[in-house]
């Protein structure tokens, strides 16, 4: 059964304190792994897509990496505005539906 597990469930950081979020997955043939950011009361906002092991993508203070079993979202020198829930999702070989993890709630204090 396809499954996604994110850890930790919640993470509290001081402004400038770098850290990483983990997304472990099992899927029968990965088409793509997606990272989204979700603010309270809003829909998920797309961040990155990764397609193959070894791939990396960066956007501002965020960097996403992918292996055959997991993905990491590295946050460098975070700011309070990075506070949000970060969601990881996988898509199987036929495309279509995304299977999401439960998310990591990130809080960055000034």
């Amino acid at each position: 059964e396809d499954q996604v597990t994110q850890s930790p469930e919640a993470l509290r950081l001081q402004e400038g304190e770098s850290s990483s979020l983990n997304c472990s997955y099992t899927v029968s043939g990965l088409r793509g792994l997606f990272w989204y950011r979700q603010d309270p009361g809003k829909g998920p906002e797309f961040l990155f897509t990764l397609y193959s092991a070894g791939e990396e993508k960066e956007k501002e203070r965020l960097k996403a990496t992918l292996t055959k079993k997991e993905s990491f979202l590295h946050i460098t020198a975070p700011k309070p505005e990075d506070s949000a829930t970060y969601l990881c999702a996988v898509q199987g070989p036929e495309g279509g539906k995304l299977i999401f993890g439960q998310g990591t709630e990130l809080s960055v204090k000034p």
Partner: protein, 113 residues
């Protein structure tokens, strides 16, 4: 350009009533998805359309849930005989094709009293 829009933003109903939730996808996107998100959880897939037809409805929890997309654009999620357990945020997403990035709307918060 305009993103995915959903109406209403909030819907409060009584147990046993019928509700309809609407989704307007990004113009030109052929794939449209419905997800349900409970508090503290990630979105859970319900159904997706490729054009006018339902390509995968494996996530619909039971026959009280039904969705249509008659002209290949706007979609309506219909829930009959609502139950308190149906309370959640219902998210809609669209993508150019079924293999592309999905872009989400703001969601409809459904509360069943």
């Amino acid at each position: 350009g305009a993103g995915v829009s959903q109406t209403p933003s909030n819907k409060v109903t009584e147990k046993g009533k019928y509700v309809e939730l609407r989704c307007d996808p990004i113009s030109g996107h052929t794939a449209l998805y419905w997800y349900r998100q409970s508090l503290g959880q990630g979105p859970e897939f319900l159904i997706y359309f490729q054009g006018t037809g339902a390509a995968d409805d494996s996530g619909l929890p039971n026959d009280r849930f039904f969705a249509v997309r008659p002209e290949g654009s706007v979609s309506t999620l219909k829930i009959q005989r609502t139950e308190r357990g149906d309370s959640a945020v219902y998210l809609c997403a669209s993508s150019p094709t079924a293999s592309d990035t999905q872009y989400f709307g703001p969601g409809t918060r459904l509360t069943v009293l």
